[in-house]
Subunit: 134 residues, 2 copies
């Protein structure tokens, strides 16, 4: 499968102004081929090792941050000790299992917020995060 040029991945990277390097292409493939994923830097690095992709942990951290800045990923805050990244950047929510430290997407339409408070003047609400801890 390494024969494929991954032109779609390369296009996406180019679109964000990030050079399509070997490492970024490989990580993008791990992240975006297949269904949506929730990853930490550590776990994506492990996946890369397993797939025999040579990439340093520092580069995984940098790449996750760059992808997030570029809008390809979204950061999820559920644990004050670790950063999670979600390949699903649509508006949605999460189950978080504290026992297994695992996340599960909740489609936006499965949570209906009937009422929200007014934000302080001059500070619009940027994002509504609903986390159901299980």
């Amino acid at each position: 499968m390494n024969a494929r040029p991954y032109s779609h991945v390369i296009e996406t990277l180019r679109g964000t102004g990030l050079r399509p390097t070997r490492q970024r292409i490989a990580l993008a493939k791990l992240l975006f081929d297949g269904g949506h994923r929730h990853v930490t830097a550590e776990c994506l690095h492990a996946d890369a090792q397993e797939a025999a992709i040579r990439v340093s942990l520092a580069t995984v951290y940098n790449t996750l941050n760059q992808f997030t800045e570029a809008g390809l990923l979204r950061e999820i805050v559920v644990d004050s000790q670790r950063c999670y990244f979600d390949t699903n950047t649509e508006n949605h929510h999460h189950f978080f299992c504290e026992e297994t430290n695992s996340l599960k997407d909740i489609p936006s339409e499965d949570v209906v917020l009937l009422k929200l408070p007014e934000p302080p003047a001059g500070k619009p609400i940027k994002r509504v995060d609903v986390v159901l801890r299980i």
Copy 2:
């Protein structure tokens, strides 16, 4: 004011099985006298210094964790780099200002959730956290 015996604080600590030591009494006073607060270990330690309370940062960390375990505090997860503790342990939600890293309580009744998804079998929802990022 250091003349007061703080019997209420001492009672509370005794109720949790924690010995009412000088440090725990002083920190409890900082936390629970006056209105509700949102603190980090670092900031509570600074408050203690300012109040001329000699207590090490390690003890502040330990105390915050012990108070949380005892149900006197609640941990709020809004930032994957830092732990926040809330003296309000009632069911409620938060505004989080990403610019100033500051939290503001939202009374439970100001957020109405009309619909929630079913949790996975055998894993009841422990807590619903709504964070409005501003």
